[in-house]
Amino acid sequence: MLRVENLDVYYGGIHALKNVSISVPRGKIVTLIGANGAGKSSTLRAISGLVRKKGKVFHDGEDISSSSPEAITAGGLVLVPEGRKIFPHLTVYENLMLGAYVRNDRSGIDETREWVYDLFPRLRERAWQKGGTLSGGEQQMLALGRALMSRPNVIMMDEPSLGLAPLLVKEVFEIIAAVNAEGVTLLLVEQNAFAALRIAHHAYVLEVGRIVLEGSGEELLADGRVREAYLGG
């Protein structure tokens, strides 16, 4: 569904990603874990065309290595950026409608919105509230709901659990599993390795810009090195 081959990213002199290759099969949840500054966000930004890169990216068999971010989103591959970048001065409803920017089938959009409201009833209750006044958990729901509005087949999420209370983290991961159950393929970047590995079908470990380990979620949960480095022994 999504295939990344030999990705390299440089920020000025910094070589942030070194020969990263990732493959995300259709309908699966794949996670990318790693310490701060390992290059997780850079990987997602490079895939969505927001930073310059070397290497190849294929989405649905199509080469999108040199496509613009707009074209990539329109093609059904959407990024939920780090730090829930919702639009604080727009209402929940308006935020969602912007998520459907690349579509122009009015009735289909209304249908998708109802579907998102059913997934997150709290968003329906707060449809006319400004995005910036939502709680952290609600903002994360909105960010995910907004991404769903374009009816993507792959969603990339950058640290959806960042800054959330443990109870909300659990909720967010349940939501992610529910979205996946609807048939959406997910590439998930997480610091919270334990929760991510538990729901992931496949996982990669990134260390200073390089993939050092990969395997199924269970394999990595059982792996001694992973336990020591990311799961606190």
Binding site: F87, P88, H89, L98
Partner: protein, 349 residues
């Protein structure tokens, strides 16, 4: 139901404004009418800058440049051929400008379109820059326009400027354009496209992740803003009847910026209120520049004093009420009716 009520109240408000202007024309002296005219033009200018800066988040300092373009283009179209021949002393005005004539409305429109074209032209290189760099680049643009106006004697009459511009910009034209600007920009910022602009302002990366063509939307917003700045410049030229390059210094942009910031970035009603208040205050404060005699003390007038006062006021706003008078809120009829109703209920208790 709410919508039709809002529409009726809008019509009533416009009628009331029309009545007031009609009354003012018969009863106020020329100086006060002039201030009323300046209010309308300043509101046009501030609304257009608010679209660019407040709603799209583009820190532009190029307003004086767009105004100058609008002013020169429109003035050259309404100046009678004989007058043109008389004032162009350094170099004759180039053909076909020397004979070209247009009705006032068309001339103002042409001024706006010319400004918008220049906006379009510079926006492609300039809007790739972000934040402060954009401010510096647009400031540079305005300065270039002024220098060119100073030197292109065959078109602008250089430093001598244009004199005897027909005074067509009466209260009706100015307020007509002002209402049109308000209507157009209000419709725009409340449309889907308006939401896209606000999204770009709030978070550009997220907007791009939504598939929004950020640069194109910025270009459109910037050019529309430039259009209305050109219209404002055209009206101002006809109101003052003379223009020269010195008029379009940065101070002009600063005045407009002050109205926008004081009223609230992203609030149209705030801009209208601040437009009225600041224009009136700017005139009223002229007295601080006049010489004063208190008893045996004689204080000579200090030119520029009111700008000092205004700069200080702006500093205070930025320090203590950054969001301006209105913040991003708007005064709406539903809001007013809500407040009245609540007050009525309280009075009954």
């Amino acid at each position: 139901m709410y919508e039709s009520r809002t529409k009726r109240l809008n019509v009533a408000a416009v009628a009331l404004l029309g009545f007031f202007l009609w009354w003012a024309q018969g009863n106020l002296d020329g100086y006060k009418i002039q201030i009323l005219n300046l209010v309308a033009i300043n509101i046009i200018l501030a609304l257009s800058l608010n679209l660019i800066y407040g709603f799209t988040g583009l820190f532009s300092l190029g307003h004086a440049g767009f105004m100058a373009i609008g002013a020169y283009v429109s003035s050259l179209l309404i100046l009678p051929a004989a007058q043109k021949e008389m004032i162009f002393l350094l170099e004759p005005l180039v053909w076909p400008l020397s004979v070209l004539q247009a009705p006032f409305f068309v001339a103002v429109l042409a001024g706006g379109v010319a400004a918008a074209l220049f906006g379009l032209l510079i926006s492609l290189p300039v809007l790739r820059l972000g934040g402060d760099y954009l401010g510096i680049a647009t400031l540079g643009f305005a300065e270039i326009v002024r220098v060119v106006a100073n030197n292109l004697s065959g078109i602008t009459n250089g430093a001598l400027g244009l004199k005897g511009i027909p005074n067509h910009a009466n209260i009706w034209w100015n307020y007509g354009w002002c209402l049109f600007t308000l209507y157009f920009i209000a419709r725009l910022v409340n449309s889907n496209f308006g939401n896209v602009l606000k999204a770009i302002r709030d978070d550009e990366t997220a907007a791009r992740a939504m598939g929004i063509d950020v640069l194109r939307c910025k270009v459109v917003s910037f050019s529309i803003g430039a259009f209305f700045a050109g219209v404002g410049g055209a009206l101002m030229a006809s109101l003052l009847t003379t223009i020269d390059p010195k008029m379009f210094l940065f101070l002009l942009t600063f005045n407009v910026l002050m109205i926008v910031v004081a009223g609230g970035l992203g609030s149209l009603s705030g801009t209208v209120i601040a437009g009225v208040v600041i224009t009136v205050l700017l005139e009223w404060l002229r007295f601080v520049e006049n010489p004063v005699t208190i008893g045996s003390f004689h204080i000579p007038g200090i030119p520029g004093m009111r700008m000092v006062i205004f700069s200080m006021a702006l500093l205070f706003i930025i320090l203590f009420r950054r969001e301006g008078i209105m913040g991003m809120r708007e005064i709406t009829w539903n809001g007013i009716i809500g407040v009245c109703r609540r007050k009525g209920e309280k009075d009954r208790d």
